[in-house]
Amino acid sequence: MTFDQILFYVFSFWFIAASLAMIFSRNAAKAVLFLILAFFSAASIWILLEAEFLAITLILVYVGAVMVLFLFVIKMLNIDKSTLRAKFAGYLPLGLIVAAIIATEMALVLGANQFGLEVMAAPARHAADYSNITVLALQLYTDYVYPFELAAVLLLIAIIAAITLVHRNEGNRKTQNIAEQVSVKAKDRVRLVSITTPNKEGK
């Protein structure tokens, strides 16, 4: 067993264990923490696959931003835990049966007969000066520049939509009153006060 394989099985074990713990944990905040562990293991596996940029993006964007957003929402909402798992037992057997069938089918299709090392040999590792970011950026800014721009527009739309959805009630808003601004007169803004100043002799 090579060092690569040991790393792969350790990361896979934590990935699967953290995912199972996530879906069966009763507390939503604990589920988020387990999902963070799962994302870290996934990022480690992606580094084994020489996708360094995406692995670091997964940690920075998902663990750093999205999971913290989840934690914020969970802490903000104060969810009643007793009602959340009311129908736990009813759907677990069906879910397990469906998942077992899907997993068996996928293992049959994706097994070593079709995608093993004999069929698809592992590529040679890149040299130490190979830059994953350079390769990705070359493709992203030439062949995929229009999807890249569309992704930027999509993020802008998401920002606007999220702010508009949450920021709704009129009372919290600071808005302009246009009519008041237009009809303002100089005497409303400037008040001339006559002050008696002492003259030069100090009298």
Binding site: A31, L49, A99, P123
Partner: protein, 101 residues
């Protein structure tokens, strides 16, 4: 060496765990969103494994876009969730039944 089928079976297992999570947690919208994230990570692992073994970086570009769209989806989903909690006082799936025809 690790073969491609190892990576594919790993992501199939993670995909199925995410699926079971949707069945198990079907009353809690936050955990449903997290299960969708898990499924997306499984799919992304598939893309990256094929990209590595075929020597084609287009798979990694796809993962990049999937991550972008998933981040936007989570932001809007959590905004809707906050709005639902504000209006209904609960994030149970069963309270969102006012649209029945």
């Amino acid at each position: 060496m690790i073969s491609l089928s190892d990576y594919l079976i790993l992501s199939a297992i993670i995909f199925c765990i995410g699926l079971v999570g949707i069945f198990v947690n079907r009353t809690n919208i936050i955990t449903l969103l997290m299960c969708v994230e898990l499924i997306l990570v499984a799919v992304n692992t598939n893309f990256i494994a094929f990209s590595h073994f075929l020597g084609n970086e287009a798979g990694q570009i796809f993962v990049f876009f999937i991550l972008t769209v998933a981040a936007a989806e989570v932001a809007i989903g959590l905004a809707i969730l906050t709005l639902l909690f504000r209006n209904k006082g609960s994030i149970n799936v069963d309270v969102t039944n006012s649209l029945k025809g």
